[in-house]
């Protein structure tokens, strides 16, 4: 059995909201294999965003364990988590989250900055990543000078530049029209196929979700259904 890209074992997440406890996740176990292409699907309030934050090491579970590449992330310090996140996970957000006044290439290079990579190598690798998403001619453009689809592809290049094992995409097409959304999806799929990076989409849109090889349906803080096309193989 190979080591999974990331694995959550019986994780819960409880928020206290004005004295009341909100159980966002109530015991979820999920294993994402290396190179897998999957979707976490659910309506808003289902806990899918919380699950994504936990898988992305942006948040800590109230109980349960998360392991990344076989390493227990739940016992790590904030700094160790930041390093692990930097080295193993790439994020694509619904609202792109680019630094507006910064050139595309510098936006893409940002994860490498926090990895301590030298300036020249950062630029080279960022340029390669932009080429890979088809934006080789937009390197010097500021984020605000790019269209929505282009911005999201810059964000994908940024998620990719650190060569992570897992790419987490939170509603990556949510702010895009159907055509550009389709282009973004094709980019993600191509990278998954060509580079072997595991891609996990978080979405409420079943049409998007069915493009992946596996749909994990989340409802009321629990995994309701986990459908895999793996049987076909």
């Amino acid at each position: 059995m190979t080591t999974p890209a990331i694995e959550a074992v019986d994780v819960t997440r409880v928020y206290s909201l004005g004295g009341a406890e909100v159980h966002a996740l109530r015991g979820v176990s999920l294993r994402i294999e290396a190179g897998e292409y999957a979707a976490i699907v659910g309506p808003s309030g289902s806990g899918k965003s919380t699950l994504m934050h936990l898988l992305g090491l942006l948040d800590r579970p109230s109980s349960g364990v998360i392991t990344v590449g076989g390493r227990d992330a739940t016992s790590m310090s904030d700094s160790e988590l930041a390093i692990l996140r930097n080295e193993t996970i790439g994020f694509v957000f619904q609202s792109f989250q680019l630094l507006a006044r910064t050139a595309a290439i510098d936006n893409v290079a940002l994860p490498l900055l926090y990895r301590g990579v030298g300036k020249r190598e950062r630029r080279e690798r960022a340029a390669d990543a932009l080429d890979a998403v088809g934006l080789g001619d937009r390197k010097g453009h500021k984020a605000t000078q790019l269209s929505g689809g282009e911005q999201q592809r810059v964000a994908i290049a940024r998620a990719l530049v650190g060569e992570p094992q897992l790419l987490l995409a939170d509603e990556p097409t949510g702010n895009l029209d159907t055509r550009t959304g389709g282009e973004v999806m094709e980019t993600l799929e191509r990278l998954n196929a060509e580079r072997g990076v595991a891609v996990v989409l978080v979405t409420h849109d079943r049409d998007i979700a069915v493009r992946t090889g596996r749909q994990v349906y989340v409802r009321d803080g629990l995994i309701e259904r986990d459908e895999s096309k793996a049987v076909a193989q």
Binding site: G56, D59, Q97, R101, P111
Partner: protein, 394 residues
């Protein structure tokens, strides 16, 4: 992240908000400039006063009746002309003892009339004080002994009485009595705001008769070297105590005068600097305030940076560098403005301004420290933000 990188990131953030950065710096700029200028003016005043005291001559001891301590009762003691000879004998050098009795009198030549300080002195003034005569001669022993009506004019009073005409050998009228001008002083400027170029020197004996007094105001003794000043001062006091057991006299040296004045002016400089330092502090609070706003505004950026692998320390350092950059750049600009303004004040106003080397250095150091001190709270707040919550904020 390397420090140099953090610097670049911070600099970019400040550049992105040029106007705000400049306005934030303004508090620090004004504070530092104020410190530099006020200290320069304080130091200038001190140096000017010192130059004036030293300009009188060197190694001089002033003997006056009574005590010169603050709050002492007015003196009933008196110095008389005989005391000049007595002190001359005591120190074994009669030529090194000068005296003065002065009064303000009206002086006229034809229709020109001025009010001037008339100083009755003896022939030893040039031996004791730095008081060169430009033309003619100073008073002689014979002038004093025979109570001659001769006068030596200050350069300013000579000009106001005679204009371009040569005063030597001409007559002037002092308080209704006619005097012959035998000399004109070189220009020497003023001491403590009193112009010494407005003085007229006449023989002390003539002056006592003219003023209707038999006292003298003060005796000035010149010591041969700086090392002789203090022993000589004690010798003079002892001699006066022996001659007048029931009376009190004071002997004050130039360095004592300088010490007292230096203390007063040093304190003044310090007070000025402290007032300016308060404005620097207020500038620091402004930096803190703006940095807090900036952290709030850029919460999403902070969240993103954290998601991409920035550690708490990376974020804290970035914001701290921003704050320190603001105050440091502000400090440098303030220093430049302060030095410039001091030089302008020195050149174009009567205020003497001297830039003490320590004041720009101190102001700069303090402004950097202010940046660190007031930057820490916003920077720590930025570093502590949780990535999930930071990303969620709109």
């Amino acid at each position: 992240m390397r420090l140099a990188e953090a610097f670049r990131v911070a600099l970019d953030a400040l550049r992105a908000n040029r106007l705000r950065s400049l306005l934030t710096m303004l508090g620090v700029i004004i504070g530092v400039a104020a410190v530099v200028v006020l200290v320069a003016i304080g130091s200038g005043a001190k140096q000017e006063v010192e130059a004036q005291v030293e300009g009188l001559g060197s190694n001089i001891i002033f003997v006056v009746p009574g005590s010169v301590e603050f709050g002492s009762a007015p003196s009933i003691s008196r110095l008389q002309l005989e005391d000049v000879d007595y002190l001359g004998r005591v120190i074994g050098n009669p030529d090194a003892v000068a005296t003065t009795v002065s009064s303000g009198e009206t002086v006229s030549v034809g229709s020109a009339e001025v009010f001037s300080t008339i100083a009755g002195t003896n022939e030893n003034v040039p031996n004791v004080f730095t008081r060169p005569v430009a033309r003619g001669e100073y008073l002689t022993a014979t002038d004093v002994d025979t109570r001659r009506r001769v006068a030596v004019l200050g350069s300013a009073v000579a000009k106001s009485l005679f204009g371009e005409v040569e005063p030597l050998g001409r007559q002037i009228t002092i308080a209704g009595v006619r005097f012959r001008v035998i000399g004109v002083f070189e220009e020497v400027g003023s001491t403590f705001g009193v112009s010494r170029d407005d003085e007229i020197h006449i023989p002390v004996t003539t002056a006592q008769q003219l003023f209707g007094v038999d006292r003298i105001d003060a005796i000035a003794v010149k010591a041969p070297t700086i090392d002789d000043v203090e022993p000589l001062r004690k010798e003079i006091l002892a001699a006066l105590a022996e001659e007048y057991p029931d009376e009190e006299f004071s002997a004050v040296t130039q360095s004592q005068i300088l010490g007292t004045l230096g203390q007063i002016l040093g304190l003044l400089t310090l007070v000025l600097a402290a007032i300016a330092a308060i404005s620097l502090l207020v500038g620091g609070v402004g930096v803190s305030n703006i940095m807090l706003v900036s952290v709030r505004e850029r919460t999403r950026e902070i969240g993103l940076r954290k998601a991409l692998g920035a550690r708490r320390r990376d974020i804290t350092v970035q914001f701290l560098i921003e704050a320190v950059l603001l105050t440091t750049v502000g400090g440098v600009i303030g220093m430049a403005i302060g030095i410039g303004a001091s030089l302008l004040a020195d050149t174009f106003t009567p205020l003497p301004a001297v830039i003490a080397w320590w004041s720009p250095v101190l102001a700069f150091t303090v402004s950097v420290a202010v940046g660190v001190f007031f930057g820490v709270i916003p920077a720590r707040r930025a570093g502590k933000l949780e990535p999930v919550e930071a990303l969620r904020s709109e």
